[in-house]
């Protein structure tokens, strides 16, 4: 049957039937004969010396199988390593014991684990573990931590994790240029909690006969987990199988390898029984990584005509109590290198100081460094525009990199692949009816209504990436991807990918790539992922890399299959392969469309092997590894309209327009979904979400009812459109789209609120823009002092 165009079609997702029927298998849904349950005992103190742990009462509690402390793991479960050792920044990598030994360093640090026959019995017994703590002073605030005599790790002076810098051009010289103004602002990018809807979980099973350990775990990257856990557990890699079954969202929080996963794996070996651990939401807030948490002093040098000539930032980045797997990369290379955004800024000077504090470790949260950079840049663009009396859209337009300048190397040294930034800006302004909106805003102000219009133009770096480049930045792995496209004798296709989607929909988009390339019906293609035993290698799903890197590997594997199939078809049709035409899944002889065979018929022949070209191996599959030559750089413009109630400080979003360019689009329905979800997370940072600690290091926003995960009623319908500028980096022309919304939305909304407050003379309010903060800023401004 003829295959219509499936690349670019709004195809319904293949993964959905099992999810909407409730028959998908998430980690907590697994059960095994003899399964027992682990519960961790966690520190209630942010910083304390462990004097003694008494497990005797817990050990004799009903149903208890084992109670272990850090001492019991000595020599058996090693320190959890950091996987991204960024060079040239004096990075400190103190050990991260799987269970705290002498000291606990944050509220939630695990000190013991209890295993029992049932989940409830394990919880009961965990409450009976007695820990005698000597409470120490805690450091929570970053600036205080740098000056404090209290050290999170005794061998890390000043609590300084790293001091990293990137410099291009000469900011000082730019700032000294006559007529140039330097706009300054301190910007706080608050700490966030990722809140994947599925908490983390792990099930480990050890087979003493084969010596094989199988770990089902909520991971975005099971192969990385296997490499790291192999070292942590001292198990040879081929005896360790890691499976990411259905995973309920990650947003970066399921990239790291965590202590619990190592401990549960060890328990399965030690006890000879399968062990399950499922995180409670409370534990998720304490023990799963947080994101963001920067304080930045920014200076922007700008000429009177609005040309931005320089940007200098001094950023403090909170790492929490331990170095998480990818943490060092987030506020350094994923932040500093993208500070030029979509603009020509010849002089950039960025210095980042990483700080240990007695708080939950931080790592990648959706966008990971790029939202922080974009927030700084886009806030500063607005402040510069205001200083010069320029329209925010105009100052952006004057600084955008023109479309004929690609590939374009920015001052921080990275080279952007392709772009037409002005086109996305124009399209967004057109959709928004910007001029009219400005007129409406003026009219509303005369009626005492405070409307605000905010913009952000952004570019992001994703699709990591060239392995040798990420290797040079200290990543302890490669970031290429593998794929296998395998026909079965009956002509069905199984695709194996090393990426590990957990909601993004690549079981559908990768099937679209294969169906398009091989001309087989979409329903004849199955995409498998997430099992280290069935897939050669993979580096996982994060950083908007799955489609540009993993999808390209799939595409290339499909080409190899097609080439082999063509040789078989040519042989059986007794023509040269050059004389064959491949159309809609069928090879036929050029000029003789009746003489042909479908690729699915070829597949049967490949497996029968009765009549193959001389020397050809039977079977029909293609395998490809793709290591891109560069990253990819999606971009776009978001515009929103807000209204602020000056009596209450309440902010309401009235309109939100997003124009994103992620290169060629495989499935518009899925791209829309990614954009919507990203916008909501970005808006939520601007307006509601924050993780708050008290001075003793207690997480005050420590439950889901205290932390503002946004709800449906808080948003209008988003108006989304796209421009399509293919990337030359991969043959599909695709960029990533998983993080664009999050990156663009936060400054867009803050800029809109500041625009609404401009009649009061309010210049800046730090996020989240809660009613109280907005109201106070208005009152302060009315009282004569700037906010």
């Amino acid at each position: 049957m003829a295959v219509t165009q499936v690349f670019g079609a709004r195809v319904r997702r293949r993964e959905d039937p099992r999810l909407i029927r409730g028959t998908a298998t998430y980690t907590d849904d697994l059960t095994l004969p003899g399964l027992c349950h682990a519960v961790f005992v966690r520190s209630p103190h942010a910083h304390a010396r462990i004097r003694r742990i008494d497990t005797s009462r817990a050990k004799s509690a009903p149903g208890v199988v084992a109670v272990l402390t850090g001492a019991d793991l000595e020599g058996k479960v090693n320190s959890i390593p950091c996987g991204w050792q960024v060079p040239n920044c004096d990075l400190k990598t103190p050990p991260h014991p799987p269970l705290a030994r002498d000291k606990v360093r944050y509220v939630g640090d695990a000190v013991a684990v209890v295993v029992a026959e049932s989940r409830a019995q394990a919880h009961d017994a965990a409450a009976a573990v007695e820990v005698d703590y000597e409470v120490l002073p805690a450091v929570v605030d970053m600036e205080a931590a740098l000056r404090s005599a209290t050290l999170v790790h005794d061998d890390v002076p000043q609590n300084r994790v790293l001091l990293w810098s990137v410099k291009g051009g000469d900011f000082e010289a730019a700032a000294r240029e006559p007529g140039v103004r330097v706009v300054r602002q301190r910007l706080v990018n608050q700490r966030l909690i990722p809140n994947a809807m599925e908490p983390r979980a792990a099930v480990a099973h050890y087979n003493p006969g084969s010596g094989e350990l199988t770990l089902w775990v909520t991971s975005q990257n099971p192969h990385i987990a296997r490499v790291i856990l192999s070292g942590v557990l001292g198990l040879p890699e081929h005896k360790l199988r890691v499976i990411a079954p259905e995973v309920g969202g990650g947003f970066g929080s399921k990239i790291p390898v965590y202590p619990e996963e190592a401990v549960v794996s060890h328990l399965a070996v030690r006890l000879g029984r399968p062990v399950k651990w499922v995180e409670s939401r409370r534990e998720n807030y304490l023990g799963t990584i947080h994101g963001r948490d920067h304080v930045t002093d920014a200076e922007m040098a700008v000429r009177p005509d609005g040309t931005v000539t320089g940007l200098r930032v001094r950023t403090l980045a909170n790492f929490g109590a331990y170095l998480s797997t990818a943490a060092p990369a987030i506020p350094t290379i994923l932040y500093g290198l993208v500070l030029s955004g979509p603009y020509r800024i010849p002089n950039i000077d960025c210095e980042v100081t990483g700080v240990f504090t007695n708080t939950t470790p931080t790592d990648a949260y959706r966008g990971a460094g790029r939202p922080e950079a974009t927030y700084v840049l886009e806030r500063m663009m607005d402040l510069a525009a205001r200083e010069l009396g320029l329209d925010p859209a105009e100052i952006r337009r004057r600084n955008l990199i023109p479309k004929d300048q690609f590939p374009y190397t920015v001052a921080t040294g990275i080279t952007y692949d392709s772009g037409d930034y002005a086109r996305a800006l124009d399209r967004a302004l057109e959709l928004f009816d910007y001029r009219r909106a400005r007129a409406d805003q003026e009219a509303a102000r005369r009626q005492g209504r405070y409307l605000g219009i905010g913009l952000s133009t952004y570019v992001e770096i994703c699709g990591a990436g060239p392995s040798k480049v990420v290797g040079s930045t200290g990543f302890s792995g490669g970031l290429w991807e593998s794929a296998v496209v395998r026909f079965s004798p009956t002509g069905k296709v199984t695709v194996f990918t090393g990426t590990s989607p957990h909601g993004q929909g690549e079981e559908t988009t990768f099937a679209q790539i294969v169906a398009q390339e091989l001309g087989v019906p979409l329903d004849d293609v199955e995409v498998l992922h997430g099992d280290t035993d069935s897939i050669l290698m993979g580096w996982g799903t994060y950083g908007s890399r799955t489609t540009p890197v993993g999808g390209t590997a799939v595409y290339l594997a499909a080409q190899k299959v097609k080439e082999k199939a063509a040789r078989i078809a040519a042989h059986q049709l007794e023509v040269s392969a050059d004389d064959l035409v491949f159309e809609n899944g069928r090879f036929h002889v050029r000029g003789a469309p009746d003489r042909g065979m479908t690729i699915q018929e070829v597949s049967l022949q490949a497996y029968l092997a009765w009549n193959l070209p001389e020397g050809m191996e039977p079977g029909l599959e293609g395998q490809a590894n793709w290591d891109p030559s560069n990253f990819v750089f999606p971009f776009g413009t978001h515009v929103c309209l807000v209204e602020v109630d000056p009596e209450t400080g309440q902010v309401r979003i009235l309109r939100y327009v997003a124009v994103d360019d992620c290169g060629r689009v495989i499935n518009p329905l899925i791209v829309d979904g990614q954009v919507h979800g990203g916008i909501v997370q970005g808006v939520a940072q601007a307006l509601w979400e924050f993780a708050q600690y008290d001075q003793a290091g207690n997480l005050l926003t420590g439950t889901m009812s205290d932390y503002a995960v946004p709800k449906a009623a808080w948003f209008p319908k988003f108006e989304c459109d796209r421009t399509e500028t293919p990337t030359p980096v991969n043959p599909l022309g695709v960029k990533g789209v998983g993080e664009t919304g999050t990156i663009a939305a936060t400054p867009c909304v803050v800029n809109a609120v500041m625009d609404a407050l401009s009649p009061f003379g309010v210049r800046h309010v730090d996020m989240p823009l809660l009613p109280e903060r907005v109201w106070r800023a208005i009152q302060q401004a009315k009282g004569g002092s700037a906010a």
């Binding site: 319904r12 997702r13 993964e15 959905d16 039937p17 999810l19 909407i20 029927r21 409730g22 028959t23 998908a24 298998t25 998430y26 907590d28 849904d29 989940r119 409830a120 809140n195 994947a196 809807m197 599925e198 908490p199 259905e246 995973v247 309920g248 969202g249 947003f251 499922v278 409670s280 939401r281 409370r282 957990h502 909601g503 993004q504 929909g505 329905l669 899925i670 829309d672 979904g673 954009v675 919507h676 979800g677 990203g678 916008i679 909501v680 997370q681 439950t703 889901m704 009812s705 995960v709 709800k711 449906a712 009623a713 948003f715 319908k717 988003f718 919304g741």
Partner: protein
């Protein structure tokens, strides 16, 4: 204690600890793992089921409180191969990504559509306030509920409402 309930039309009788929450009863005693646990504060709604026809968070109900009740979980929505209109709509409109909140979200939507067959967008957004989704940004969920409302109205021959 003994609990006897009817779940998705099947009668079950089990001995449970008095403290057993309905959600764990469904998941661990009956093996119906389509109902999920996403929080410990009755905030997220991933565990939403229909108890005697009304949406409840099954993490907030003790199994013993459900004695004698009729319960519908996500596994009971479809009739064999025929999806429930809400399932069909979530699929058609891309109302889910990771799928973890989806069972609860769909059951909350079913509850809404029973009470209000033609809800406005605003009514849908408010009705889903007890159900959190971190992936979709809700827009496609709202579209799905509207599509289900149209499909269900058409099926009963009522005048089509919605947008």
């Amino acid at each position: 204690m003994n609990v006897t309930v009817t779940v998705n039309g099947v009668r079950y009788s089990r001995d449970v600890e008095p403290r057993t929450l309905l959600v764990y009863f469904l998941r661990e005693h009956l093996g119906l793992t389509g109902t999920h646990v996403g929080c410990d504060t009755s905030t997220c709604g991933a565990c939403t089921v229909l108890l005697n026809g009304k949406a409840v968070k099954s993490c907030t109900v003790l199994a013993v409180q459900a004695e004698g009740a009729q319960i519908t979980t996500v596994e009971g929505l479809a009739q064999g191969d025929r999806l429930h209109p809400i399932q069909q709509a979530f699929w058609d409109e891309h109302g889910l990504q990771c799928g973890f909140c989806t069972p609860g979200m769909m059951l909350a939507a079913v509850d809404l559509l029973q009470r209000n067959p033609n809800p406005t967008e605003e009514q849908i957004r408010h009705a889903l306030e007890g159900n959190l989704c971190r992936c979709t940004g809700y827009q496609h969920i709202v579209n799905a509920v509207q599509a289900a409302a149209r499909a269900m109205s058409a099926a009963v021959g009522a005048p089509s409402g919605g947008e």
